[in-house]
């Protein structure tokens, strides 16, 4: 097996060159090559983190805008509700007032009419007494041949009072 031929001078020099090449490779990698990779990776990490931060800030901004919008909507809705309620109340009040004046007018008319009716009825009642007295007098005169207007008047009054009372 050539690998175990330690008498070969190339074996010793192989190890010496191995140490030199490996040491050189380590030096180059640790001082030049790997820091470059690390710098690029670090740069990318920082960039992604910055982008994420920006996205987070934008989201927070959007959230506040959304909240403000929701608040404004709620306020506008409340205002509209209040306006509707006020308008309804006003309409109610106006309608009430209108109805009241109408009622008052109608009541007045009713009262006037009633007064007129009472007057008419009283007049009619007065006329009735005269007609009744005259009729009774003429009837009594025809039956008896004489008439006592005062007695007839009393009798009519009594009968009317009894009718009005009943």
């Amino acid at each position: 097996m050539p690998q175990l031929d330690f008498g070969n001078p190339l074996m010793i020099s192989q190890i010496v060159w191995l140490m030199i090449i490996f040491g050189l490779l380590y030096f180059i990698l640790s001082n030049y090559a790997l820091p470059r990779v690390e710098a690029v990776l670090e740069d990318r990490r920082a960039r992604i983190a910055a982008d994420l931060d920006a996205a987070r800030a934008a989201k927070a901004e959007a959230d506040t805008a959304l909240a403000a919008h929701a608040e404004a909507t709620a306020k506008a809705r409340a205002e509209a509700q209040a306006a509707i309620a006020a308008a309804t109340a006003q309409a109610h009040a106006e309608a009430q007032a209108h109805a009241d004046t109408l009622n008052a007018k109608l009541n007045a008319q009713i009262a006037a009419s009633e007064a007129r009716i009472t007057v008419a009825r009283d007049a009619a009642m007065g006329a009735l007494r005269q007609v009744a007295s005259e009729t009774a007098e003429s009837l009594v005169a025809k039956l008896t041949g004489r008439a006592d207007p005062a007695a007839v008047g009393r009798a009519v009054d009594t009968a009317l009072a009894a009718r009005a009372g009943s």
Binding site: P2, Q3, Q14, F22, I28, L29, L41
Partner: protein
Amino acid sequence: MAVEGKTIDALSQFELTPVLGAVGRSIGFSQSNMHMLVAGLLIVALLMVGMRARAVVPGRLQASAETIYEFVQNLVVGQVGEEGKRFFPFVFTLFMFVLFGNMLGLLPYAFTYTSHIAVTFGLAFIVFVLITVVALARHGMHFFSYFFPQGAPLWLAPIIIPVEVVSYLSRPVSLSIRLFANMVAGHVMLKVFATFVVLLGGLGVIGPFVAALPLAVNIALVGFEVLVAFLQAYVFAILTSIYLHDAVHLH
């Protein structure tokens, strides 16, 4: 080289030969060292050329460089913890050097420097020196308590301490032999089956048909060897990280 006088010669592929003519011979620069140099240049090129764009959205080469970087970093940080970042360049160099050595060796005519026990032991020895120095620097004399676990009965000390010392000292041996044996076994298998292809192919009319069988085996073996090449580099790196964890935290 594969077939010499109709015999199977699977081991001559591991022989060291000087390269670069007279200069190489005088400084003992073998083809093994040449492959180390090529691997090192490829690693540096991958990182330097790959990261040249410094793009936020990486291209193919940059993505592979970053993937390997993060893979090894996760490995080291996962095993050693945050203190492990100091050792990351070392583990990364080790992982890439072994990985590229294994992978380069799979190319035709290439030499696999990780198939030399001297090379793998050299790397394992660097790891062993590093973990011992780190442990001594961090814990001083307290480091030797590592060889006697806390809570063990005192009368067991004569048994436990020698066992722990031997297990500690055998770390570089097991680390180097694992990689060396895996690479040698794979390349010997490849060479043996490749020799079968040549030998059986010379059997007249039926030769090419019979030779197709070991050829198919070799194709499967190459795929398997790619897996082993990666796996052994990974094992080397993760065992180094585990040893570093022991050195930093002592159990």
